[in-house]
Symmetry: C2
Subunit: 255 residues, 2 copies
Amino acid sequence: MHAQFKPDHIPKQSPKHVWPFIKKLGFLQQLSQEEISQLRKLHEKTAVFEKYQEILNPRDTQGQWLIVNRGWACRYTDLSNGSRQVINYYLPGDIINLPALNVSKTNYAISSITPMHVSKFKPDTLQNLFALHPKLESLYDLIHGNEENLLVEQVVRIGRRSAYERTAHLLLELYHRLKVVGQTVDNTYSMPLTQGLLADTLGMSFVHMNRTLHKLRSDNLIAIQSEKISLLDLDKLAEIAEYQNAGFVALTKES
Amino acid sequence: MHAQFKPDHIPKQSPKHVWPFIKKLGFLQQLSQEEISQLRKLHEKTAVFEKYQEILNPRDTQGQWLIVNRGWACRYTDLSNGSRQVINYYLPGDIINLPALNVSKTNYAISSITPMHVSKFKPDTLQNLFALHPKLESLYDLIHGNEENLLVEQVVRIGRRSAYERTAHLLLELYHRLKVVGQTVDNTYSMPLTQGLLADTLGMSFVHMNRTLHKLRSDNLIAIQSEKISLLDLDKLAEIAEYQNAGFVALTKES
DNA sequence: CGCTAGGTTGAATACGCTCAAAGATCGTGG
DNA sequence: CCACGATCTTTGAGCGTATTCAACCTAGCG
């Protein structure tokens, strides 16, 4: 059990446990007790992955969906010249939609980055849920749209931003996504990515990644200690990165 | 009426007209006459856009979906420093899913590139269709997955490929997507993108775009005359770009 | 205590950008 | 029908950001 997971270390099956996925939906829209207990049905079967374990394995994951409860994963492509591009990250509260991946041929893989806890469920569980609770279906559409927005942001980030801006932008995105599921404390979160992985995400060399992080530090915008990163000036970072929180926008916030 | 549209110039309402969208689905899986006539219902209401006209206008497009019948469009983001990033293109046979865009806040816009013909339909038309024809629903899931794959490819392309590779890769993607809807002839297709737009797609300057295209030409890999582009050596291009046709893979090809 | 993975730093190089200016193409209006 | 303007393309030259190569440092783990 690694240090970075302590804040989330709550007994797994406790009825008081709020699953990150439910927390995320609750952030988007107020949920009734009935809806929450319905959503708990998606969490009945859990599983565990080790650090750096392959998750996308088209052979044996047919018809299984995963919800990330703890830990990070990522989707990536390895190129023949030895370089790697990380497409996106899966954080607690995110759905990893394996069947959709199987539907069409994929050029990418999914792997855990840290040890992970996930919930597994079958697609028809979701179908049944939506049939009874249309509101949950619209919420699902919403997070699905947000996911696509994240991909779009990744394109813009890599395509038209400087290394400095890219880095600020990604760190902000991670911050906002983690905040929704309660994994930030005082603008600080645990960031289990190596500089190599960050570089592979932002399309740059790990040497330059290192230098860019240094510049952000010397500009007093971020602070890093072991796996904890602190965003020291959210406004300034957002200004530099031209960051708009597209990845997580609530439809109607009726809290 | 522009020259590049002549090959597609068929009377609009002719019963023999095969809509690109239907052609695309038919490429993925053999369609029955019944299914084809069902899909025609999506094409009952058509509309037209001018060249460089804004399509995504969150105010007035609620609940409308578009199918591209003719012409090209793209989704893009303008940054405050004056640069632009094109996210993806919409070609004949593609669906532009406007409601999904409205569901969550977007940082991007959609605009036509050429004059366009589109079909408009309401989301519940699609719902009704799927209720009666599950096979069509699974086909829709498939093209939806393919769309996401294209976005993923765009990330990899921009993130980890050289200008030369990127360009080859994009030209191949456009070729394969157009081929499915019958808009290629002998490895040639009409490519209405300016070098500036191509550059904004691939995250490079238009000057370097120009030089890269020249290199591809002098390497005898492509030929360009006005708006026609020919891919002279598909295999070599694919090898250079490490291209795998992820954007369009059939589930079961039972022809 | 030594190995391995990750982080840091320097120096040389290269890929792609910016600035600038000159052609080409096309639509439009005189 | 030609001339003009606007947009797009082409080419040159200098510059800058990011890469590569290489070495060394650090921390964690067996």
